[in-house]
Symmetry: C2
Subunit: 346 residues, 2 copies
DNA sequence: CAGGCGGCGGAGAGCGCTCTCCGCTCGCCG
DNA sequence: CGGCGAGCGGAGAGCGCTCTCCGCCGCCTG
């Protein structure tokens, strides 16, 4: 049948075929109350015979549930046009989150809808749409610190889970990785490897994850008796890693190890070291953060702190579904433990 | 209002406030027919005053449109559990497609829903769900050649656009890049650069894109009077590029250029060359295909054939929307022109 | 043996919207 | 001045589903 105007079977059709009422078919399909087991079978046969599939819109209309959750990618700094997105989407970070979400959502039969939101105007709209049942809840991915969206969602009483700790405390659940402990892992590793003069390239100072990595690294170094850690600030891009490494070495030429706050910058740093003729890891060791694909692509391959993004996203999805089922649930924070992946760069 | 049981305003509420009927409000909101301009304003004021947002489910129920399109990622070889997905999602390819789709969908106010489908059983289910209005149409991303899904969609008369030419001809629209001409670009470039002994690492022989790249490259080389192109077959992975390069060089040690059918393999090949002590591009040039992030991550950065994925995805979305608006539209193929991005590896 | 209770299935009311009718009003023409 | 047509707004019927309410029947208890 190549035509699309063939009316699809409805509950009514199934009911007629099964010789029961709509209500009974509905009960069977949704597994509600005790229905005579024989009828049960009769109904299912009719369902299969007709090829019936429940109409989602009709169901949502009455249940007020959509069976969909939204992945909201929020960028408070962009202005609705999309240059920023291309960069973000081509980052494996996005894909890993999507994969993790799907792995939890699919078994539950929940859909994932993508929502991008830039300017503030769009935010109000989004909240409205969400309230009106675009989705039962949302997983929020903020690209910038201090994003207002988590607060907006909380204010609207919408179910939501944020990936990554919000910059300001907001009454909304979130999942995160223990960035400070991850950085400490890197510090311990470098010290254990016998590195003596250890520097750091940090991320932006207004990003919580970045701040935690820096302070976690400094604290761990202090525990090893190193109170001063030479460092420069980057912005998580490849170029800033390249630049940062050059800066750092021009000021502290004798460093024999550098902790870089994310893999992309570390890869940039590695590029700089290559051009500067410094052998890695013989002369200088590099440790990154994220265990993104950049870590594997880097030459030499990057020792890095693994952030279990897929697991985090999956957990975010499960948490969100729990919140949807019980809206009065307390907001919680789930913090994952990072692990160190040792490769050739250290 | 932190509670969620506050009933949201309905058309009825807006109508009452505006002192008109539901029908009129509906007409104003949907911009249908001539409504008295004064009323128009009165209605919009009421809409804003109440904070009204149309209920999507109710609207879909009657219009039989969801305002959603599905991005169906289809992997005929996996079996419902998701190991395969993680690899795919962390590939920037996925993100670029999503970004491109969104750029076309967002202005049109269309949602994007993600659908993964593995085993064949899930396919039937998917088609059922789609027919029942999960989405108005779908953009299909097949991970394996000879995927049955495009055919299934065509058979069901569902609106769909496939990204990448299907292995077998299927009565469904698709967007693709001229893989053969892209490969020719690479060939022309290498010849123009004065390379004399040029080899190739191809992709899998059952993937249309891969086949086109190989044959396109060979044809272009033939035009330059080179009837024989030494080549080995890879499978698009980093490792197969590494292995392929070693094989190729052990058999043809004097090659001074290699065209590799995708960036990831090219990156692997570059790794092998590095370890073999062959200087790139001085001794041997490498050209990849895709202009993925791997091209930038590679050392030296990779000269590669750029596939305008974002544009292709955006066009797929627009085409799909056109098909949805006019289902009797003829199936079409839109083929994009690749471009050569020259970097340090050639 | 009568009354009551529990379990199962049906009737039917709506969920919030769109859209077809239909009737009213106004303007224009004969 | 009457009639007709065009245009605008309202009434109301559903879209396909869920779920409450109710009635029936059979079994158990007093």
């Amino acid at each position: 049948m190549t035509t699309d105007n063939a009316r699809l079977p409805t509950l009514e059709d199934v009911a007629r075929l099964a010789g029961v009422s709509r209500a009974t078919v509905s009960r069977v399909i949704n597994g509600i109350r005790n229905v005579n087991p024989e009828l049960h079978e009769v109904v299912w046969n009719a369902v299969h015979a007709t090829g019936y599939v429940a109409n989602r819109a009709a169901r949502s209309l009455v249940t007020r549930r959509t069976g969909t959750i939204a992945l909201v990618v929020s960028d408070s700094e962009s202005h609705d046009d999309d240059p920023f997105m291309s960069r973000f989407f081509s980052d494996p970070f996005f894909g890993r989150v999507v994969g993790g979400l799907m792995s939890a959502l699919r078994p539950a039969g929940v859909q994932l809808a993508l929502q991008l939101v830039g300017a503030d105007q769009a935010r109000g709209q989004l909240v409205g749409d969400l309230r009106q049942g675009q989705a039962d809840g949302s997983v929020v991915l903020s690209l910038h610190p201090g994003d207002t969206l988590p607060q907006l969602l909380a204010d609207a009483g919408l179910a939501g889970v944020v990936i990554g700790r919000p910059a300001r405390p907001v009454p909304i659940s979130h999942v995160d990785v223990a960035n400070d402990r991850g950085a400490a892992l890197a510090a311990d590793h470098l010290v254990a490897r016998g590195r003596r003069r250890i520097g750091m390239i940090t991320g932006p100072v207004d990003v919580p994850a970045s701040v935690d990595r820096s302070s976690g690294f400094r604290a761990a170094m202090a525990r090893h008796g190193r109170s001063f850690v030479p460092s420069v600030t980057g912005n998580f891009t490849y170029e800033s890693g390249d630049r940062g490494m050059r800066e750092l070495l021009s000021e502290y030429p004798d460093l024999d190890a550098v902790f870089v706050a994310n893999d992309l910058m570390a890869q940039g740093g590695l590029g700089a070291l290559h051009e500067l003729g410094r052998r890695v890891p013989d002369e200088i060791a590099v440790v990154g953060f994220d265990d993104s694909s950049a870590a594997l692509a880097a030459r030499p391959q990057l020792t890095t702190v693994r952030q279990p993004l897929e697991d985090m996203a999956a957990e975010a999805a499960r948490l969100l579904m729990a919140i949807i089922d019980d809206p009065r649930r307390e907001t919680t924070a789930i913090v994952f433990e990072p692990t160190l992946v040792v490769r050739a760069s250290s």
